[in-house]
Amino acid sequence: MTVSTGSGGRRGRFVRRIAGKFHVADAASGDIWDAIQLARHQDRPYPLDYISRLMPDFEEIHGDRMKGDDPAIVAGVGRYNGAPLAIIGQQKGRDAQDRAYRNFGMPSPEGYRKGMRLMEICDRLSIPLVTLIDTPGAFPGAGAEERGQGGAIAHSMMMMLGLPVPTVAVVIGEGSSGGALALGVADRVVMLENATYSVISPEGASAILWRDAGKAKLAAAAFKPTAANCYRWGVADAVVPEPEGGAHLDHDEAARLLDGYLSRTIRELQALPIADRGRQRRERFRRLGAVRDAGV
């Protein structure tokens, strides 16, 4: 039996990527909980905060052309470094009224379909795409289910996978569940320093795995969903630094730091032949995971 989780594993393609250049501390569970609080801090910049700083000229699109417009997803095109750039992100609200309007950043199928409409525009007009991920998950409601929440997420992943343009996914806050991954199938997946990325929120896991709503801290410690760990697992390709103390303390500086990463990365991706970009994107997601081989 071979445990193929190290870089020397026999079946190289299933070996997760090991962080080389980024210092990964095995954080204490208290630190992980702090990261989760920071990732959800209500003063943390949301997509529209980044957009207004990175792209003063931004045209937001609205509606899925079938049912309605979902304010939990922001989508549009702006001018960035002398060329058009498309953005899709989950948008939380800051005050009580706005939070309700944005449905706490939990998208409905209409939101993902608005995103797919923008992806089609990216395809037609050759516009690179950046997604900004920040959601506790897709909205769990009967109507959303009836209108195809599962299929909307699946199709969004499939469409992102096939886009011929450069794509970058940035987890800017809380990336939870398929509702986050729907916008996450990109050439590069990166996380802000205090962002988290996980299969489920700690509260959800607490209720399900511990059968006790009060074990969220334990769950967080078990999932270890920090940027550093996601980088170590190969789920994140890079960690983008935040201002000292966290992005919520200085939106302008947070946007500048993200700007630096995006400018460089989009340029790098554009320099790749389309064929290589597509192959690398597929191989990136084909590879992720950790398995044992019980054979020989």
Binding site: I61, G63, G78, R79, I121, G162, A275, D276, R282
Partner: protein, 291 residues
Amino acid sequence: MERNSYVCAVCGHHFAMTARQRLDHLADDGAWEEIGGDLRAADPLRFVDLQPYTDRIRAAEAKGATEAIISASLAIQGQPCVVAAMDFGFLGGSMGSVVGERFARGAEVAVARGVPFISITSSGGARMQEGVLALMQMAKSIVALDELAAAGLPFIMVLAHPTTGGVWASFASLGDVTYAEPGALIAFSGPRVIEQTTREKLPDDFGLAERQVEHGHVDAVVDRRELPARVGRLLAILERPALDETQSLASQLAQNGTERAARMAQALPSLSRRLRGRPEHAAADSGADSE
């Protein structure tokens, strides 16, 4: 009125505009060059309802317009583009062969010049007096937009009152970005037809621009007075960057990928799908050498 873009200064009502007024309003310095202006309606069915179609055409032409649409080259806020503006005053803005033809020629000029294409609609739908040939103009407008998309050029829609029937069920529904003027009625079937067919009682605001935003069919309601600035800003956002060195390198490399895809395709039966679907993927499959 003209200085206020034909919008009532008191209540904000948007009055109807002719296609010429539309183009004067949008174009920098009011300068535009017509495309397909010589085309006039024919009468392929020798159609007569309460009066002959030819009489209707003559009467409409006598009022000054030559048809229910004008396509023109112009610049908006410094951005060169082609605009196809409809005119409800000409036989209810109905889409007959000339409307389809002028629309298609507008798109073709946009492709030839590599500039975006914009349409402002105001139409009751297909021009019945041209029978099934009017219906076919819906398909012709789709062919034109397909050319535009293949050239990677944007299509921007502005829905003015009213946009109904075959116009809404063809090109007017296919904008990359879609604006509507306040209070514009936007529908495939008009309220009267719906009420007669289904006995539904429709709300007063049925199909209005503001409701269409709620239902996800329109991106934004834009006051006509803001329209030139709003469209100009969007064109500036979408403007293609000049090719710099990095990008020409990238496109060279992409061509290499394509050639490999083509070579590989010769070895496989379902080539059309593969190439159609994802050239980069097909190429990846063919080349262990690149890994």
